[in-house]
């Protein structure tokens, strides 16, 4: 029988009394009514009015609760990965190389997502910084236009099916002796080359053809002819006192631009310990970034370039006691003579480079450098560069073979000839005749669209790889994220098809690197160390004595035939942002203003105002430019500094299969390229006609070109500066009743000495050396990535609403200055009118990075009605986004115009399908930086998140932050180290010592806003006699 328990003796008794009260909670009488003095029933009963009150309250409460900001829930790790600490970034050493650019990098990952590229300062090649294109490459990982599956005839297919089909076809083709071709851009990876070799071993009819969209074959061939070595040298601009660059944009676009920019920056720096700087002469046709930085710039038409090189050769040959060559450019005789004098005087410390892809011209350049003794000082052919290996002749032959139907299989790796090839149509036609056409592209690009198979390659941030950019200098690439899509690294695909059983390409590389292990190390520790450092330099190769064997006479005679065959010459140039166009779908790069024209989201024909006048063209008019049978119509952009009868257009635009951001942006200029005397020629002659098409709007971030006689960028000459370190930068003085005084000495505001303005711990600041800033825009992209800056698209750029926190202002000089206005008999009105016009022929170009100046007497702070922008005790001007009501008074009152307003909800509006909005691209956002909502103001915070984390690191170790430990994103990426971040309170900081130099000045000092950021005067290294001339003029 079941046991029974009783709650009490009452239950046991079970009396009728108990049963009656059993269900009442309170069996005793509670004196509620007595104590309240009302009937109990009136408490529980509600009247109609009460009901309405409750209803009203309920509805009001419910609707108030509904007003809450939506809450997005996140899940914490259930099992935390070992290496991931939420909120703490991990850095991995890796390498960017896309066959065009190279950089050894650190990849910053947060919670497993790569979000930022930073320079790997251990790298001897790109240790100083990274370029805009490399900075932007991380966004490519999240590009939604990437192919997410293997494709056969454009239809998704399984990897196995594709492997099976490809393998059987390869076996079949190889079996019957059919030609297999692998077409790629330059491959820097020794392991990849080994993979291709292994593949070739399996399918012996395979041949590897290297083709670069922007080729340096002319140099390779010239070096083969001159020195018997078909390689590019590595350059040492840092050793050069005189740099003569002939049509060569070496600072952002040529062979190894990050390396060159770093070296160049070194030579441009001057301070109290280094009183000299390099002299840079640029001879070019269109105004390039490099040309903008030159001390002297000489304009020639591209068709005259060969002859000019002959003239220069002859002038130097005369000094070196060598025979003169026939031909030359008589118009350049005097100038070439002067240049030759300078070069000869700097013998052994001189460098002549040419951007031409013409074999003959490069032979002569080699000859010049040989005479000048540049080899082994400014040029190193032993540690040669592998950056460019494209073989134009081989590519031309391949297209011919394809059209002849003798290529049975074509595997296209990291190359897009259907878009970039000089005769893309011939390539496309030929491709139709190829039985097995396969692309490894990461998207269905122009070439992949024509191929039968698409075996998408991993993004480089998902890949293993090794690189040897310079002979004996290696670096590794490691994955920083699991593959996002169903892709496979091209090397693994090739190994699979070659039936080589390797678990992953990692093992294959490791195997290859085993042979490189130094004797004193175990492979494991060598491998780990190499991976951690990301870069490895082996012992210098044995020095070879160079003997010049180039046939300069033949070269000169064929160069002499180079003539313009049309009414205008057209330069096909490369833009700093878009490059060869492979990253065209990157909104950061599209929105990066071109350093010289400041145009975003477009290419255009650069036409000099003079030529435009002759042809009665205006900015935005459409013109048809005809070269041979190719006609391209595009808009006119009035560009000062162009050579006579020369126009220019950038490559990399007019893509059709790159993705939403790039498709149909600009015009494709590649068809203007032709193969001339064995190599691709990046200029052409043709005719220009005004088109009947409607005008086109070109949008720039800077609509005014000159400084209007204001001391915005202060300048001086080297000679002046050597005499007087304050040259070009006299103190700003304002009239007061007590005589002239510096603005800071007649201050109504509380100053540092007074309470409320002391900086108890830090006073952050930034130095910007205008002499070493080359204007490349790497900082702009770095800032975009670090601070989640919105990309706003072309239309909004047209409304002057770019969101960049840092911008690089570019000014041209004007013919009329305040000093010469009187001479020219100009009144004040016409003077200002004339000063708006930049010098047409050959303007001086100034670059000036401007971000929030973090004024200590900030005009923005006083006018905010709601105290949304305030000053920190370490000298930063801060924004509280959540407090901002958006009156925009702060932006109006900012003399530097660095404040940016959120005109739209960029993160939630489909009108802006870029980084903040796109589901996939959002993964690149930095979790440390708030996404700003619509209606609030934002601006440079001096990377406050980095400062904060640096301070915390130091605090944990009970020390002060060391100088250089904290770097803003812009300062960190700057390849020339022109931006230096530091603490005024740290006596050892580099920034502080720069501040004390005489070249330092505050922008708009007369306003006495006391910025934390300061600039250093631009110093031009004009020739002594020229600067004397200027002195007389002044």
């Amino acid at each position: 029988m079941e046991k029974k328990y009783w709650k009490g003796v009452e239950e046991l008794n079970n009396s009728p009394e108990f049963l009656k009260h059993r269900n009442n909670e309170f069996t005793e009488h509670l004196p509620i009514e007595e104590s309240l003095g009302i009937k109990a029933s009136s408490i529980t009963e509600s009247t109609r009015r009460d009901f309405l009150k409750f209803l009203g309250f309920g509805v009001a409460a419910a609707s108030l609760a509904a007003c809450e900001t939506p809450i997005r829930k996140t899940l914490p790790y259930v099992i935390k990965p070992e290496d991931v600490i939420p909120g703490v970034p991990n850095f991995y050493a890796s390498t960017f190389s896309d066959g065009h650019d190279y950089a050894s990098i650190l990849v910053k990952t947060r919670e497993g997502r790569p979000i930022k590229i930073e320079p790997n300062d251990l790298s001897p090649i790109s240790g100083k910084g990274v370029s805009a294109r490399v900075q932007a490459s991380v966004l490519g990982l999240y590009d939604n236009a990437r192919t997410k599956k293997f494709l056969i005839n454009g239809m998704p297919a399984s990897k196995d099916t594709l492997d099976k089909e490809v393998k059987s076809k390869l076996a079949d083709i190889a079996g019957r002796g059919g030609n297999i071709r692998i077409l790629s851009s330059t491959i820097l990876s020794p392991s990849t080359k080994k993979v291709i070799a292994d593949f070739t071993a399996k399918y012996p009819t395979t041949k590897h053809i290297t083709y670069d969209a922007i080729s340096n074959y002319g140099m390779l061939k010239a070096n083969e002819l001159s020195f018997g070595k078909a390689a590019l040298p590595s350059y040492h601009f840092e050793n050069a006192d005189v740099i003569v660059s002939i049509g060569c944009d070496f600072l952002t676009n040529w062979i190894s631009p990050i390396e060159h920019a770093g070296q160049y920056g070194q030579t441009r720096k001057v301070n109290k310990d280094k009183k000299t700087m390099s002299r840079h002469i640029q001879i070019e046709s269109n105004l390039s970034l490099t040309g903008s930085n030159a001390d002297d710039r000489i304009r020639i038409r591209p068709s005259e370039q060969g002859a000019t090189v002959i003239t220069l050769y002859n002038k130097i040959a005369a000094k070196a006691g060598q025979t003169a060559l026939s031909g030359g450019n008589s118009a350049m005789d005097a100038i070439a003579g002067k240049i030759a004098d300078e070069l000869w005087n700097a013998k052994g410390k001189a460098l002549v480079v040419s951007g031409s892809n013409n074999i003959n011209e490069q032979v002569l350049i080699n000859g010049i450098n040989m005479m000048l003794g540049s080899y082994d000082s400014t040029i190193d052919l032993d540690r040669h560069s592998n950056m460019k290996q494209g073989n134009d002749a081989a590519f031309v032959e391949l297209v011919n073979e394809m059209n002849a139907g003798s290529v049975a299989a074509l595997l296209v790796y990291n190359s897009n000839p259907a878009y970039t090839a000089p005769n893309a149509k011939a390539f496309a036609d030929g491709l139709k005749k190829v039985e097995l056409s396969l692309s490894f592209a990461d998207r269905t690009d122009e070439t992949a669209a024509l191929c039968k198979y698409l075996a998408p390659d991993n993004h480089y941030l998902e890949s293993w790889n090794d690189y040897e950019p310079i002979n004996g200098s290696y670096s590794l690439c490691q994955p920083t994220i699991q593959k996002l899509y169903d892709t496979r690294q091209a090397q693994e695909s090739l190994l699979t098809w070659a039936d080589i059983p390797v678990a992953s390409f990692h093992d294959y590389i490791a195997e290859h690197w085993k042979g490189m292990t130094p004797a004193e190390m175990s492979f494991d520790s060598f491998w780990t160390k190499s991976l951690q450092e990301g870069t490895l330099v082996t012992n210098a190769p044995a020095k070879r004595t160079l003997s010049f064997a180039g046939n300069v006479n033949d070269a000169a005679s064929s160069l002499s035939n180079q003539k313009s065959s049309g009414e205008v010459d057209i330069v096909i140039y490369e833009k700093t942002g878009i490059g060869n166009g492979s990253q065209a779908n990157n909104p950061w790069l599209q929105e990066l203003p071109d350093p010289v024209s400041k145009v975003c989201w477009d290419n255009y024909f650069c036409v000099s105002p003079k030529l435009a006048k002759e042809k009665s063209l205006e900015q935005g008019n459409m013109i048809d430019v005809k070269v041979g049978d190719t006609t391209i119509s595009g808009p006119v952009y009035l560009q000062p500094g162009m050579a006579e009868k020369t126009i220019a257009i950038a490559m990399g635009y007019g893509r059709t299969n790159a993705g939403d951001a790039a498709n149909n942006v600009g015009k494709n200029a590649y068809p203007f390229i032709s193969v001339v005397s064995g190599s691709m020629q990046y200029w052409a002659s043709g005719a220009l006609n005004k088109s009947t098409a409607d005008d086109y709007k070109i949008y720039t971030t800077q609509t005014h070109q000159t400084m209007m006689g204001r001391e915005i960028v202060k300048e001086t000459t080297l000679a002046e500066w050597q005499k007087n370190p304050k040259a070009g930068n006299p103190d700003v003085l304002i009239e007061t009743p007590e005589g002239k005084q510096r603005p800071k000495d007649v201050d109504l505001w509380a100053t540092e000495a007074q309470p409320g303005f002391e900086r108890p711990n830090h006073a952050w600041g930034m130095a910007i050396d205008l002499n070493s800033c080359i204007g490349c825009g790497a900082c702009v992209v770095a800032c975009n990535a670090e601070n989640n800056v919105a990309v706003v698209g072309k239309d909004e750029i047209g409304r002057s609403r770019e969101m960049h926190w840092i911008r690089i202002d570019r000014y041209y000089s004007s013919d009329v200055t305040k000093e010469n206005a009187e001479e020219k008999h100009l009144g004040q009105l016409s003077m200002y009118g004339e000063m708006e016009k930049p010098t047409v022929e050959n303007p001086k170009v100034f670059f000036q990075p401007i971000m929030c100046q973090h004024c200590n007497h900030a005009p923005c702070e006083t006018v905010c009605p709601v105290v949304a922008t305030t000053h920190s005790s370490d000298g930063l001007n801060m924004m509280a986004y959540n407090r901002c009501v958006g009156t925009r008074y702060c932006a109006n009152n900012c003399p530097y115009k660095v404040r940016r307003f959120n005109w739209f909800n960029y993160s939630e509006s489909a009108k802006f399908p870029y980084t903040l909005y796109s589901e996939s691209e959002r993964m690149v956002l930095n979790p440390d930086v708030t996404i700003r909502s619509r209606g609030v103001m934002e601006k440079c915070s001096m990377c406050i998140q980095r400062i904060q984390s640096g301070k915390l690191t130091a605090k944990k170790e009970s020390r002060r932050p060391k100088d250089g430990e904290i770097k803003t994103a812009c300062a960190q990426t700057c390849p020339t180290n022109a931006i230096v971040f530091g603490d005024y309170k740290d006596s050892s900081s580099q920034m502080l010592s720069m501040f004390k130099e005489e070249r330092s000045y505050w922008l708009l000092e007369e306003l006495d806003v006391q910025p934390s950021v300061f600039y250093q005067t631009k110093v031009w290294n004009h020739k002594a006699e020229e600067s004397k001339k200027e002195e007389v003029k002044a």
């Binding site: 570019r810 401007i850 905010c864 709601v866 009156t887 109006n892 009152n893 959120n902 005109w903 609030v936």
Partner: protein, 468 residues
Amino acid sequence: MSIVESDLRPVLITGDKTMHQITEDICRPIEGKANKYWWMAFIVASAALTWWVICLSYTIGVGLGTWGENKTVGWAWDITNFVWWVGIGHAGTLISAILLLFRQKWRLSINRSAEAMTIFAVICAASFIVSHMGRPWVAYWSFPFANQFGSLWVNFNSPLIWDVFAISTYFTVSLVFWYSGLLPDFAVVRDRAKTKSMKFWYTLLSFGWSGTAKNWQRFEEMSLVLAGLSAPLVLSVHSVVSMDFATSIVPGWHTTIFPPYFVAGAIFSGFAMVQTLLIITRKVLGMEDYITLYHIDMMNRIIVLTGSIVGIAYMSEFFIAWYSGVEYESYAFINRATGPYWWAYWSMMTCNVISPQLFWSQKLRRNVTFTFFMSIIVNIGMWFERFVIIVTSLHRDYVPSSWVMYHPTWVEMGLFIGSLGLFFVPFLLFTRFFPVIAMSELKTIFHSSTSQVKRQQKEDKKGELING
């Protein structure tokens, strides 16, 4: 019985009106039906108001990106319209406060509608303050109120906060002044009311006015006190508005002349707007006997005076810009007159300085059509003045790299046109439901300034001369 007043004082009420006729005339629009002109105006104004609602909703829904402002020009039509409307409001206060203190009797026919204009103009102005904010839903943060946002407070250094106080004080005082003046007139309408609903509403509106001597004594006292309170506001409000600009560092804004110059400009545009409104009102409502050519003449005199003050201010700015030797300031003014927005500057000069000079001629001052035309011109000119100050100063300030052009969008234009609806709809309702002339106060000059009294006086004087 008549109050002896100098012959030189003009007749202020023509048409030999009796007390009863005055009441009849002024109450007629309220008690009768609206005519077709009123309905036409009301339909147009309502359409404009609807358009304003649409443009405002679009702005708040999508963002300020729907306007044409940009990184450099952060204020344009929005603040132009704001200052323009605040300026228009000024005439009301000037008429009711300053002219009261100076015992200018001619103000009595016009003060009511001028004050109404002030109220509605300030509402329009306030609408632009709110709509120009990036986040108008948190506009209330600009008031210092107890809060739990981490005890955030407003920035008393910011001229925008001064503005908040200036405008809200101004609005409150004007409203109270206007409404208290309306009490005896409401009581008149109440007492004459024939329908139940009119009786009910005007009883409510008249606050139980019974017309006792005590009522009148308090009424007079309060009028005086409020006039005393609002007299400084005439000077202070637009001075504070001008400090939105003057305390900044923008060349062209940073000018000590701004407060008096803005006040003069405000009165200038305010009187022009009063002219516009009254010339229509007197015609449509048949008030020619109360708003006489003399009234129009007097207002035109103020217009020519203030217009000239403004003109001198423009020239002083140029002189100081040159005399200071400051690069940025001199350029700002050269750019105003000769830069890309030269047409705005010269429109302003023509409308504000040159054309009002025609009012030196009495013939033109007393020409109703010409006055109406000029009143429109002056208001166009004053709109351009604010546009010139705001946009041409901002678009080219210190760093030439950031110099840009500004182009308005249809939304901004729509908000401006719509704000005219926001103004005219209540104003038209006012003319239908409120006595447009302060009749009770007007009657205080019945014994001194009506046409019959003046005639009688003349005759008496003649008689005296003959007899003497």
